[in-house]
C-alpha cells in the first residue's frame, strides 16, 4: 500500500486528463491492482473544505505517511513571493507544497509546469511561477537544488505538455512496487528510460527526413516537418513515437510539428513573432540542428540526401 497525494498549482489539469487516458494500468488499476491509495486528488477526491484540511494537516504532521507526492502545475509565487494568487485550502498553495515535500518519500513533478515552469513561466511570467526543482534550465526552482525527498531522490521530473499517461503510471507503479530505487535520472531529473531517445525515434516521416523531402505546408501526408514547419523532433528527448499517444498516433505522425515540450525551454523562442510553426534559419540552414550535428555536417548530409533521394520520396506514400 502506497499513499499518494496529487495536488495542482498553476495548472490546467491537462496532466490529470492525460493520466485518466491510461490503460494497463488504468487509473483504477493503480488503486485496485497495485495498492496505490489515492488520499486525495483535486478532480477525484471525496473530501471538501475542512475535511480536506484535516487530511493535509495529518500528512504534514506525519500522522499519515505520504509515500508519493505528485504535483501538477507551477508553484505560483505572485504577488511578491507571497503565493496569494494561488490559494488552496485557506493558504497559499506554495506553503502546502513546502510542507508536503518535507514529509514525502518520493516527490514527482508531472508535466512541464511542475518540472520547469512551462507556459505560465513564459515571459513575462506574470504569476512568478517556478517548477519544483527547475525554472526552465536553471536548477533550483521552488524547492532548491539540494532538495531530496525522504527516499533520497531529488524531484522525479516527468515533463511533457502534457506528460504521457504511461510515463506517469509506470513511474508510480515502480515506486509503489518498491522499485523506485532503480530509477535512473538524467541531468534534468527525467527518468532515462523515457527521455534518452528522441521524439523522432519511430516517426513515420523519418524516410522523408533522411531524403530531405519537406512538408512545406500543412495538410500533407508526405514530407518531413523539420525543414520548414519548425518541428523539433530531431532534438527533443521523448518516446512520443515509441509509446504512442492515446494508443493511436503522435503529433508528428498526424502532421503537427513537435513543439519540444519535454525540454525545459518549451515554449521555444518565447513564442516571439515569426517563430510559431516556422523553422528558424540562418542563410537557409536551421538555427537548431538535429542533436549532435554541426553546421558543416548538416550541409553535407542534406546535399547528399537530396542527391540520393529516390523518386518515390516525392510522392505520397501514405495514400488514402
Amino acid at each position: 500500500m502506497a499513499n499518494l497525494l496529487w495536488l495542482q498549482g498553476g495548472a490546467c489539469s491537462g496532466n490529470t486528463m492525460s493520466f485518466l487516458n491510461a490503460e494497463e494500468p488504468s487509473a483504477c488499476d493503480l488503486v485496485t491492482d497495485f495498492g496505490v491509495n489515492v488520499l486525495w486528488h483535486p478532480s477525484l477526491g471525496m473530501e471538501l473544505g475542512d475535511n480536506l484540511k484535516k487530511l493535509l494537516r495529518a500528512l504534514t504532521s506525519g500522522e499519515i505517511a505520504l509515500d508519493i507526492f505528485v504535483f501538477e502545475g507551477t508553484v505560483v509565487n505572485a504577488p511578491d513571493g507571497t503565493g496569494e494568487w494561488n490559494r488552496f485550502a485557506g493558504r497559499p498553495m506554495k506553503d502546502w507544497v513546502a510542507d508536503l515535500a518535507k514529509v514525502a518519500s518520493f516527490t514527482v513533478a508531472i508535466g512541464d509546469c511542475a518540472t520547469w515552469g512551462g507556459i505560465p513561466a513564459t515571459a513575462p511570467n506574470p504569476s512568478e511561477s517556478q517548477g519544483l526543482q527547475f525554472l526552465k534550465r536553471a536548477h533550483g526552482g521552488f524547492l532548491g537544488k539540494d532538495y531530496k525527498s525522504k527516499a533520497g531522490l531529488p524531484v522525479i521530473n516527468i515533463p511533457g505538455c502534457p506528460a504521457h499517461p504511461d510515463w506517469i503510471t509506470q513511474i508510480v507503479v515502480a515506486v509503489a512496487t518498491g522499485r523506485g530505487g532503480d530509477l535512473t535520472l538524467d541531468e534534468f531529473q527525467r527518468p532515462k528510460t523515457f527521455f534518452t531517445s528522441f521524439t523522432q525515434t519511430g516517426c513515420t516521416r523519418n524516410m522523408h527526413f533522411a531524403y530531405k523531402v519537406s512538408a512545406t505546408e500543412f495538410g500533407q501526408r508526405k514530407g518531413c516537418l523539420f525543414y520548414d514547419l519548425g518541428c523539433r523532433g530531431p532534438m527533443t528527448h521523448s518516446p512520443c513515437n515509441r509509446i504512442l499517444w492515446n494508443r493511436q498516433s503522435s503529433k508528428t505522425r498526424a502532421g503537427m510539428p513537435c513543439l519540444g515540450c519535454t525540454e525545459p525551454e518549451f515554449p521555444f523562442f518565447e513564442l516571439a513573432p515569426g517563430t510559431v510553426f516556422k523553422t528558424q534559419t540562418v542563410m537557409g540552414v536551421p538555427k537548431d540542428m538535429p542533436s549532435g550535428v554541426d553546421k558543416t555536417g548538416y550541409v553535407k548530409l542534406t546535399a547528399a540526401a537530396k542527391a540520393a533521394s529516390p523518386r518515390w520520396a516525392e510522392e505520397d506514400i501514405f495514400v488514402v
Binding site: 486528463m17 471538501l48 473544505g49 506574470p126 493511436q248 513543439l259 510553426f277
Partner: protein, 532 residues
C-alpha cells in the same frame, strides 16, 4: 425569532477542475446567501501579448487541459476571421469532429469521476438506492466507475488520429487543419465509436439502443421509457434519475432562469469564408439567449458581452466589452465579501443581464423555435424544464448527459462526410486585424477575441463558460448564476456540505481557465490582456 445565520466557508470545493471556494450563509438548515470565489491566477493573456499571432494555438489549449479542443477551436476561428482565410470543407469537418469527441470523452469522465461520487456520500445512506449506488459509483472501485472512467479515454483516440494527441494538440490552424487523414484513420475512428457505443452508451448508460433513446421528445416520453423495461430503469441513466428524485436533487439548484449559448459546429459548406458577423447563420447547433420568465428566445452575438469588475480583483472602469477593457488587476487580492472577492469578472449580456452557460443552456436553446430547418432542434429538455418547474441539480446534469447520443451522431456524420482526396488546408496570408472565435465546450459557451497589430498580438481575451457561471456579484449587486443557484440548498451536515458540492458540480465548473491578466511587476501596462 428567526434562527441564527451560520456562515460556512468551503475551501476548496474540489472536483470542479480548479480552485473554487464558496461561502454560504445557512439559516434553518437552508442556504440563504452565497459567494463563489475563483482563487487562481496564471495570466495567459499577459503571456500572449506581443507574441506571434499564432501563439494562441499553442498557449490557449493549455489554458484548460479539459477543454483544449474547445480552446483550439476558438483560437483557430479567431485567426480565420482576423486573417480572412478560406477554410476547406474537410477542415471544418475535422475541427468539428475533434470538438465533438472531446465532449463525448468528458461525459463519462465527469459523470463518474466528478459527479456521481457524491451519490455514495453517507448523507444518503437512508436512500433505497444507496447500496446499489456504492456498488456502482464508489470512487475507483465501483463497477461502473471503473468502466466509465476507463472508457472515457476512447473517444479522444479519434482526436489523436486527427491531431496526434489529446489533450494539447494544435492541429487546427488558420486555413484549415494540419492533418490529412487516410481511409484507415476513418475506419479506425469508426471502430472506436462503435466500441464506445457497444460497451458503454447502450449497455450501461441507456440500457437501450440509441434509436430507442432518440424517440424521447418530452418528459412524458422519458417517463414512459423509464417504466418500459427494467433495463431502462436500472441503467445508469435510469438509476441517476430515480435516485436524484429520491434524494431531492430535483428540488434545488434553480439559478436565474436565463441562459446563453454561442452555438457551435459550423456547417461544412456554410462557413468556408469565416467572418465574425456570418457565424450565427452557419451553425448546426444554434446560438441563443433564453429567458424562462418570458419564454423568449433570441440569437446571441459577441457584441452584447459586457464584464463588470467592481466585485472582482480589478481596479478599472467596469462594464466594458472585452475588446475595450483595460484590465488593471488589484495587486493585493484580499477577500472582502462586501467588496472584491474573486479573480473572475461578472460577465453579463448588455440587455439580458447575467446568464447561465452550459449544456442546460444549449438544450433549452435547442428547443427554441428560432433558426432554420437544417439547424438542430430538440424539444426534450425545454419540455422537462417547463414541466418540472425550472432548473435543478438533476436537470442540469441530465441535460449534459442527454447530449451524449446527439454528439455521437455528429461524430458519425463527420466521419461519413470527409472527402479524403480533397484539400484539408489552404495556406492563408497573414495580416493585421480583429478576430473572434467561439464554440461550446462541453461545459458551455467559450470564446476568444484577438487583435493583431504590426504582425503580433496586441490583445487576446477569453471568456470561458465558468466565467459566466462562477462570476461574483455584478455592479448592481446581483448574484452570479452559481451564487443564485446555491440559494435554497438544504444543508444536512454543516461539517460535510455535500449539497454545495452537488450544485457546483452540476455546473461542471472549470476554474482552471478562469484566469486573468496579471503582471506581477507592471500590472497597468499589461492591463488589456486577460483570460476570464
Amino acid at each position: 425569532m428567526p434562527a441564527a445565520v451560520q456562515t460556512l466557508d468551503i475551501s476548496p470545493v474540489g472536483r470542479v477542475e480548479g480552485d473554487l471556494d464558496v461561502r454560504v450563509d445557512v439559516q434553518d438548515g437552508v442556504v440563504v446567501n452565497a459567494w463563489t470565489q475563483a482563487e487562481l491566477f496564471r495570466g495567459f493573456e499577459v503571456i500572449l501579448r506581443n507574441k506571434d499571432p499564432q501563439a494562441g494555438l499553442i498557449v490557449t489549449p493549455r489554458a484548460c487541459g479539459i477543454c483544449g479542443a474547445s480552446h483550439l477551436t476558438c483560437a483557430a476561428w479567431a485567426l480565420d476571421t482576423a486573417w480572412g482565410t478560406t477554410v476547406p470543407r474537410n477542415a471544418i469537418l475535422a475541427r468539428n469532429l475533434g470538438q465533438v469527441v472531446e465532449s463525448i470523452q468528458s461525459l463519462p469522465r465527469h459523470h463518474y469521476g466528478l459527479f456521481m461520487i457524491d451519490y455514495t456520500n453517507k448523507n444518503y445512506a437512508k436512500s433505497k438506492f444507496y447500496e446499489e449506488a456504492v456498488r456502482r459509483w464508489a470512487p475507483f472501485t465501483g463497477t461502473n466507475y471503473e468502466i466509465g472512467v476507463t472508457i472515457s479515454g476512447r473517444p479522444v483516440e479519434i482526436y489523436a488520429l486527427l491531431g496526434g494527441q489529446w489533450p494539447h494538440s494544435s492541429y487546427m490552424v488558420p486555413g484549415g487543419v494540419m492533418c490529412a487523414p487516410t481511409l484507415t484513420d476513418v475506419t479506425r475512428s469508426w471502430g472506436i465509436l462503435e466500441h464506445f457505443r457497444r460497451n458503454w452508451i447502450e449497455p450501461i448508460w441507456l440500457g437501450c439502443s440509441l434509436e430507442r433513446y432518440e424517440e424521447i421528445k418530452s418528459l412524458d416520453d422519458f417517463k414512459a421509457w423509464l417504466d418500459e423495461r427494467p433495463e431502462h430503469a436500472n441503467s445508469d441513466l435510469g438509476m441517476f434519475w430515480r435516485m436524484s428524485e429520491d434524494i431531492g436533487l430535483d428540488k434545488y439548484g434553480q439559478g436565474h432562469g436565463r441562459f446563453v449559448s454561442w452555438g457551435y459546429l459550423p456547417h461544412e459548406d456554410k462557413y468556408n469564408k469565416p467572418t465574425i458577423e456570418g457565424r450565427n447563420a452557419s451553425l448546426f447547433m444554434k446560438s441563443g439567449v433564453y429567458d424562462s420568465r418570458t419564454d423568449a428566445h433570441q440569437l446571441m452575438d459577441q457584441s452584447f458581452t459586457r464584464e463588470d469588475t467592481m466585485r472582482a480583483w480589478y481596479d478599472e472602469p467596469s462594464g466594458k466589452h472585452p475588446f475595450d477593457r483595460t484590465t488593471t488587476p488589484t495587486r493585493k487580492n484580499t477577500v472582502d465579501m462586501e467588496g472584491k472577492y474573486s479573480w473572475s469578472t461578472a460577465v453579463r449580456h448588455e440587455q439580458a443581464g447575467r446568464l447561465e452557460a452550459g449544456p442546460l443552456a444549449r438544450q433549452l436553446i435547442a428547443g427554441g423555435p428560432h433558426g432554420e430547418s437544417w439547424q438542430h432542434y430538440d424539444p426534450l429538455v425545454l419540455d422537462m424544464y417547463k414541466k418540472l418547474g425550472g432548473a435543478s441539480v438533476m436537470l442540469r446534469h441530465f441535460a449534459r448527459m442527454h447530449e451524449c447520443v446527439k454528439l455521437y451522431r455528429r461524430a458519425e456524420y463527420y466521419l461519413k462526410e470527409f472527402r479524403l482526396n480533397d484539400p484539408w488546408y489552404i495556406k492563408p496570408t497573414e495580416r493585421d486585424g480583429r478576430g473572434w472565435g467561439a464554440t461550446e465546450a462541453i461545459r458551455g459557451a467559450l470564446c476568444h477575441w484577438i487583435e493583431i497589430e504590426g504582425g503580433k498580438i496586441k490583445n487576446y481575451q477569453i471568456i470561458a463558460p465558468t466565467t459566466w457561471n462562477v462570476g461574483p456579484r455584478s455592479d448592481d449587486g446581483g448574484r452570479g448564476p452559481m451564487e443564485e443557484a446555491l440559494i435554497g440548498a438544504p444543508i444536512a451536515d454543516p461539517s460535510d456540505p455535500v449539497e454545495i458540492g452537488h450544485v457546483c458540480r452540476s455546473y461542471d465548473s472549470c476554474l482552471v481557465c478562469t484566469v486573468h491578466a496579471h503582471d506581477a511587476k507592471t500590472g497597468k501596462e499589461l492591463a488589456r490582456f486577460r483570460t476570464a
